[in-house]
């Protein structure tokens, strides 16, 4: 078949509309968040003092912060599915490194009691990673339906978005902050949750090249 014939054939074939694609993406993202949240509530349950916590500033700040992370990560995830949107992998890497340094410095300055948190840390990492497999699967579909032309930033976005959604879901159950100083507790919690991030990067590195192809 020559190119002219191919063009004639393609021009008569139906195309997916941008609007439908947008809503499909939105639906997949909402489903990812909803299913992860539901799974967290089903498997782990909600923390017993949730009603009280919802009236307390530190918990609301933690919730709002994680929600902000989720929204930011989802925005980046959507951006990386557009082939002509340039996202420099170097800049993403530098931002991640800067974030990690700030977080570590902040958490260390606030004084983490690692000894008392050891068991909680392990629990957090295991559950955040396990729950994160759900959004990871949904987001791979999001990437597949888009047109990722720059795989490295897509990999970071996939890992960050999955981690953020999973952390948000897990925080409804997590009571580790009860043992922490309310002033610096959120920073410490974020630091603990972020310890799961490298696992997400490894998972995304394994999954993305295999499944997010087009």
């Amino acid at each position: 078949m020559n190119t002219d014939q191919l063009i004639t054939q393609l021009s008569t074939q139906p195309r997916r509309s941008a609007r439908a694609h947008y809503w499909q993406q939105a639906l997949l993202i909402v489903l990812a968040v909803a299913v992860t949240g539901a799974l967290s509530l089903l498997l782990l349950g909600v923390r017993p003092d949730i009603v009280v916590q919802l009236t307390l500033k530190p918990f609301l700040i933690k919730l709002a912060g994680l929600l902000g992370f989720v929204l930011l990560a989802l925005l980046v995830l959507r951006k990386v599915t557009l082939p002509d949107v340039a996202l420099s992998a170097f800049r993403v890497r530098v931002s991640l490194l800067a974030g990690a340094l700030l977080l570590t410095t902040g958490a260390l300055t606030a004084g983490i009691d690692f000894a008392s948190l050891r068991a909680e840390t392990f629990h957090c990492i295991i559950w955040i990673t396990s729950l994160g497999l759900v959004p990871l699967a949904f987001f791979v579909v999001v990437l597949r339906r888009g047109a990722v032309a720059n795989p490295r930033p897509a990999l970071y976005a996939l890992a960050l978005a999955s981690w953020a959604v999973s952390s948000l879901a897990y925080t409804l159950h997590c009571t580790a902050d009860l043992a922490l100083d309310p002033a610096s507790g959120n920073l410490t919690m974020l630091f603990l949750y972020a310890l799961a991030l490298p696992v997400f990067f490894i998972l995304a590195r394994m999954v993305q090249p295999l499944f997010a192809r087009w």
């Binding site: 063009i7 004639t8 021009s11 509309s17 002509d84 047109a147």
Partner: protein, 175 residues
């Protein structure tokens, strides 16, 4: 709607969005022309047939991922990004599925290489490359043995074999 110079006329996008097949075909023709021109300039693109194959592959990708094009942005960069991705894929695939080893196997399997179809092609190679290929691939000497026989280093033999096989591959594909 695209109003950038590196794009087909804006009214074509509106018409294509409204289901006008002729307008969509015109955009694809414009894309094919642009891709052909870009690909022909690239070093790896061997024959005209190969360029046309790649153009078609890119057009299929353009069609499949049309929904990711935002008409408020320039079309040229979007097309280039899609094409770059497909080309990387195509090159990677070619390295996997049409590897140099294919030619190596063809050469090795040939009991009478001097009379094979590849003989005229081998004859077109520079002496050093032809000798390196003859010794390592046809006479099945080790790189060290070939290096000793030709009075060159092992690294030089590897480079000569690689370059020779590359040239042969291009010539075979060009027909």
């Amino acid at each position: 709607m695209s109003v950038y110079p590196d794009s087909p006329p804006p009214d074509q996008f509106a018409a294509a969005a409204a289901g006008d097949t002729a307008a969509y075909a015109a955009i694809l023709h414009w894309s094919a022309e642009r891709l052909r021109r870009t690909l022909s300039r690239m070093v790896f693109a061997g024959s005209a047939l190969e360029v046309e194959d790649l153009v078609q592959e890119c057009l299929l990708a353009v069609h499949a991922k049309w929904h990711t094009y935002d008409t408020s942005r320039p079309y040229g960069p979007w097309l280039k990004a899609v094409a770059r991705h497909k080309l990387t894929d195509a090159l990677r695939r070619r390295r996997l599925h049409v590897p140099l080893e294919d030619i190596e196997q063809t050469l090795a399997a040939d009991e009478q290489p001097e009379k094979s179809d590849l003989s005229p092609l081998l004859a077109t190679l520079p002496d050093s490359q032809r000798e390196a290929i003859r010794l390592t691939k046809l006479e099945e000497l080790s790189v060290a043995q070939a290096a000793a026989q030709l009075g060159r280093s092992e690294g030089a033999i590897k480079v000569l074999v690689h370059r020779g096989l590359e040239t042969l591959r291009r010539k075979v594909r060009a027909g």
